[in-house]
């Protein structure tokens, strides 16, 4: 589908949506007028009439939502798929080799648990799974949203449930150019996700870089592997890229692969079907999201294979 066809489809969806809204407004107005007339004629209890009016409005809104999803649901599905093909997949293919893009899928909760990098909280969701190769480096990534359930009791003894986001952003996995046995976790000071599982299991390691120790926590199963991975040069690179991200970042060196969690509180590659399509803005946004992947390979020099083929 071309951009123009996509715009046509969007106009069709918006048109149908407007019609639905208009019909709903008329239906609500008619219902309210009829209720008012009934109230004046029957001289019923005023409070009863108000409750009746509220029920009518509520039912109308519910019907509106159902009708909208029946009328527009399939079109919105097609729009979202085509939108991601036109504005995301196309640019992913330009930048990466062997691209696999599954907007509805993500890195699984079980995998995140097995890596032991993040606590998967009480509600886990992920989408926009991408895998591919950049400068010869295999990578996988997806958006991840992890929430914690909180329950409070009000003064009447009613339990109120609320959800607190503990991580929202990107989880990326890259081939790493060194082989190592230990599990090493490096998190920036502003990485806010609580209940980090490895904090209890590993020992805290102090590096010789005072600035690095001030801004990052390093936990590892052994000192040697932590110093082997975190060379002075690599620590400098980690400091630089984390500064550029302007958010909490965590690096997990597990099974000779580098796992990066970027807690930027964003859901990347997403677009509201009712927003006007501004091609330049959307392309710019897609390229910015893609750059988050390439930046880590480029800045951390992951394609340096100096150590990969050691005997």
């Amino acid at each position: 589908m071309s951009v123009d066809e996509l715009k046509q489809l969007q106009l069709k969806i918006i048109g149908k949506n407007k019609k639905c809204n208009l019909v709903a407004v008329i239906a609500i107005a008619v219902a309210l007028v009829l209720t008012a007339i009934w109230y004046l004629i029957s001289k019923a209890d005023f409070r009863f009439a108000i409750v009746l009016a509220l029920i009518e409005v509520g039912i109308s809104i519910l019907v509106l939502v159902i009708v909208k999803s029946l009328i527009n649901g399939s079109d919105i599905k097609v729009f979202n798929k085509e939108f991601k093909d036109v504005f995301v997949l196309k640019y992913l293919r330009q930048r990466f080799d062997d691209v696999v893009y599954r907007p509805g899928d993500g890195i699984g909760e079980r995998f995140v648990e097995s890596v032991g990098m993040l606590d998967t909280g009480d509600r886990f969701s992920s989408n926009d799974y991408i895998s591919g190769k950049y400068k010869g480096i295999n990578f996988e990534q997806s958006d991840v949203h992890i929430e914690e359930r909180h329950e409070t009791t009000d003064k009447d003894g009613n339990k109120i449930e609320s959800w607190k986001t503990i991580f929202k952003g990107r989880l990326m996995i890259f081939d790493f150019n060194k082989s190592f046995k230990a599990n090493i976790q490096v998190s920036s000071r502003d990485f806010s996700a609580s209940r980090l599982p490895w904090k209890k299991r590993f020992s805290k390691i102090k590096m010789e870089d005072v600035e690095f120790n001030k801004n990052f926590s390093v936990y590892s199963e052994n000192d040697h592997d932590a110093f082997y991975i975190l060379t002075p040069h690599f620590m400098q690179k980690i400091k630089e890229i984390t500064k550029k991200m302007s958010c909490g970042v965590m690096f997990g060196f597990v099974d000779s692969r580098l796992h990066i969690a970027v807690d930027n509180r964003e859901d990347s590659f997403e677009y509201d079907v009712f927003d006007p399509i501004d091609e330049q803005e959307i392309i710019g946004d897609t390229l910015r999201n893609i750059k988050i992947i390439t930046a880590f390979v480029d800045e951390l020099d992951l394609n340096n294979n100096l150590f990969r083929k050691g005997v």
Binding site: K178, K206, M207, E208, D223, H224, D225, F227, Y228, T231, L306, F307, R308, K309, G310, V311
Partner: protein, 182 residues
């Protein structure tokens, strides 16, 4: 304040002192153990470096039998070496590595030899491990040395006969090793 209060106060102070002494003494013991562990890490890395360099020397000798540069230094690694001796052995390995590079420059066929290329990649990784071991050791030594000269820990260190430990030095050649052009 009666005598009883003074005795209780003295016992409390003595107890606090004993607990502090035990805790500090254990901290120093742990630090010594960590240094020993780090030193064994250096031993492992040095042995690996020695093995790979020996293999490289063999390959180089097979290509340049008549070159003067093939007169490599004899490096001896044995158990129980002091940090100074380990440093010296490492420096000799540096010199051998320098010679290997000089010979390789004059023999393009050596540089393109698959076995040699693999060994070059290995030496880069071995160097990284040696650097890591050195940094772990030096970080532990630095912490230990700071502890034994700081009062009041210094008094316990003196009692236990603990003395400052030597650092494992890094030099320029080692840093250059990992920057080899492959």
């Amino acid at each position: 304040m009666n005598l009883m209060h003074i005795v209780v106060a003295l016992i409390v102070i003595l107890l606090i002192f004993v607990l502090w002494y035990i805790a500090t003494s254990n901290k120093l013991n742990k630090s010594v153990v960590k240094i020993d562990e780090a030193l064994s890490g250096i031993d492992v890395a040095l042995t690996k470096r020695y093995d790979v360099l020996t293999k490289m020397i063999e390959v180089v000798k097979s290509f340049a039998k008549h070159e003067k540069e093939t007169l490599f230094k004899v490096v001896e690694l044995r158990s129980g070496m002091s940090v100074k001796e380990k440093n010296e052995a490492n420096q000799m390995m540096d010199e051998n590595f320098k010679k290997i590079n000089i010979v390789a420059e004059s023999y393009p066929e050596l540089k393109s030899n698959e076995n040699y290329k693999t060994l070059q990649q290995s030496i880069a990784d071995v160097e990284e491990h040696l650097q890591a071991a050195r940094r772990v050791y030096n970080a532990n030594v630095s912490l230990y040395n700071q502890m034994i000269v700081s009062f009041p820990t210094s008094s316990i260190a003196k009692n236990k006969g603990l003395v400052k430990k030597e650092f494992f030095e890094a030099d320029k050649i080692k840093r250059e090793d990992v920057k080899m052009n492959l």
